[in-house]
Amino acid sequence: MAKQYDVLFRLLLLGDSGVGKTCLLCRFTDNEFHPAHISTIGVDFKMKTIEVDGIKVRIQIWDTAGQERYQTITKQYYRRAQGIFLVYDISSERSYQHVMKWASDVDEYAPDGVQKILIGNKADEEHKRQVAKEQGLQLAREYGMDFYETSACSNLNIKESFTRLTELVLQAHRKELAGLRAAAAPADLARLDEDELPPAGAEEAPKACWC
């Protein structure tokens, strides 16, 4: 039987409540956009398999609740992620300001090798814009992240940003993936954390799991 996928890993969506995390995700996985969707409580899950450089990658995406109060809970999930989207809303200065707080939490709780990408969502709402594209670019530069302005509504840069983060995670895990084509079973990067390895440097551990 053919493998359904070659690699499995987890991406996490973080950002203030209402910046459009769930909408980004729905657009990416189902190509749907519902302006009146339901609030996320705790964490929701989606999955999609995409092909990058001939590698079939199954990504699990964890979509978290944005309210600050929930961070006690959602922080527990950071360490399970290989890639993280930091999302703000271009029509909300506050959500942009909060990215710094989200980023510092990620530094504290996520594994060292985690890949990050900055997203300014709702790019279609130009008339309500409070955050200039240049500000987004600058923040991304400061943190050494890639940056996209996206719109789940008009389907702008959705596929591009998800693919880009996937590429970054793949690059970061090149070593483990070197023998991939020879391996019979999929590589489960997401499983690393489940073996309770110490988060620091875990990705570089040679016992990276192939099971």
Partner: protein
């Protein structure tokens, strides 16, 4: 769609629809015509030659639509076709007549079809009659239950609420017309909140909204330590979340009939309990209460409900205590469903993944609303333990498929349960869950775990899970 429509008449040579050139395609083979009529919604079943309906139902059942939205769309698509008639006609006069033999054959086929259709029609009618009878029976029993609740139970609440008979009636679901009153009585009003207090809290909330919207000076409140920005964020979050509370019902959104009520209750609560504030998930609880109670009574029930230990632990995000609840849940999980428990462990699927959503919203987000209300009914009767029993009931109901799934599929499934949960099976499954573990009840297990936790914290604070 057209294919499905034609299917029973595959030997029928021509189809006369509204397409004008359909007649031109094979003008030589006129057999019989199929007419599509614009139906009158209600009387489609009275048409004796209605064959379409059955196909509509058949196909509706064959590919059961996943979302109600799709369902609606599908029905609409079918609507214009829902009455059809089959008429046997001779060939037009300008064409040579059919040979007698062929005409005879066609007549025979035609009659067979009509007989078949009639048979199906009769069967349908019988089925409908049975459904109607069942419905009447159900309505009767609801009517009787309403009488019992109104005349016997509610006037003698204190003495009757714990009786075996009332508890049984309670389990079967509280009739919607008395539901709010029963919930209010069962939740109680330990906090002694009056309608006046609600008005005061609401007035304060409105004052805050005004001062924030005018960008005015600091409103000094007793909730010191909460910056103006935080409060503003919380008020904005309420606004945002109201529009995302049961969006499908379209009654809580801006301009909807219950928008202001929901806004008022949540706002008043942030003034009543500034230490708790607004937490996502509350809007769902308030919304369900609003559907069953007047605003002030809904507020009283809301505040008292949130004041219960389990709800307080969750809404204040007391992580240690939440973990204790999850641990207690796992004790009963392992006891009731050992196989599934092992499977979840193997896949590293911790209870927080699905319980957070279920407990925070008291199932109102994940279950169909009528089922959620029935869960609330028994939750009001049995307390927090029933929330966890319900969770186990859900896991039990889907045990077979869940054991075949991996992490992500289980997580997706449990955070978005099927919308067509059968209510009787669902409650049978919950009833089969034993909330006893080695002779210990839920409260005892929970208390023991809490005690362990406290001792562990005392011993070494870093040993917390």
């Amino acid at each position: 769609l057209t294919n499905l429509f034609i299917f029973p008449f595959f030997f029928c040579r021509n189809l006369f629809t509204r397409k004008p050139n359909a007649r031109l395609e094979k003008p030589n083979d006129v057999g019989w015509k199929l007419f599509g009529k614009v139906p009158v919604r209600e009387n489609s079943q009275k048409d004796p030659k209605n064959v379409q309906k059955e196909y509509e139902e058949k196909t509706g059942r064959a590919h059961r639509p996943l979302s109600p939205k799709q369902n609606v769309r599908k029905n609409l698509d079918f609507e214009p076709l829902s009455t059809t008639a089959l008429i046997l006609e001779d060939r037009p006069a300008n064409l040579p007549a059919k040979p007698a033999e062929e005409a005879q054959k066609h007549r025979q086929q035609y009659e067979e079809m009509v007989v078949q259709a009639k048979k199906r029609e009769l069967k349908e009618a019988q089925k409908r009659k049975k459904q109607l009878e069942e419905r009447c029976k159900l309505e009767d029993s609801i009517g009787n239950a309403v009488l019992t609740w109104n005349n016997e139970i509610l006037p003698n609440w204190e003495t009757m609420c714990c009786s075996r008979r009332v508890r049984e009636l309670w389990w079967q679901g509280i009739p919607p017309s008395v539901r709010g009153r029963v919930w209010s009585l069962a939740i109680g009003n330990e906090l002694n909140i009056t309608h006046e207090l609600y008005e005061i809290c609401l007035a304060r909330a409105k004052e805050k909204w005004r001062s924030l919207s005018t960008g005015g000076a600091e409103v000094e409140c007793e909730d010191a330590g909460f910056s103006a920005a935080d409060r503003e964020a919380s008020l904005e979050l309420i606004k945002l979340d109201i529009s995302r509370t049961f969006p499908n019902l379209c009654i809580f959104q801006q301009g909807g009939p219950y928008h202001d009520m929901l806004h008022s209750i949540l706002g008043a609560y942030t003034c009543y309990r500034p230490d708790v504030g607004y937490v996502q998930g509350m809007s769902f609880i308030a919304a369900v209460l609003i559907l069953n109670l007047d605003t002030a009574d809904a507020f009283i029930a809301f505040s008292n409900l949130l004041n219960k230990p389990c709800q307080m632990a969750f809404f204040r995000v007391d992580h240690g205590l939440m973990l204790t609840y999850f641990a207690a849940f796992e004790v009963f999980f392992e006891e009731n469903l050992p196989k599934l428990f092992a499977h979840f462990k193997k896949n590293n699927l911790t209870p927080d993944i699905y319980l957070i959503d279920w407990i925070f919203t008291l199932y109102s987000k994940s279950l169909p609303l009528d089922l959620a209300c029935r869960v609330w009914d028994v939750f009001c009767r049995d307390g927090e333990e029933f929330l966890f029993r319900t969770a186990l009931g859900i896991l039990k109901l889907f045990e077979d498929i869940l054991t075949k799934m991996d992490f992500i599929h289980i997580a997706q499934f449990l955070t978005k349960l099927p919308e067509d949960l059968p209510s009787e099976e669902f409650f049978t499954s919950i009833a089969a869950i034993q909330m006893q573990s080695r002779n210990k009840k839920w409260a005892q297990v929970l208390a023991a775990l809490q005690k362990d936790n406290r001792e562990m914290e005392k011993g070494s604070p870093s040993l917390k899970r």
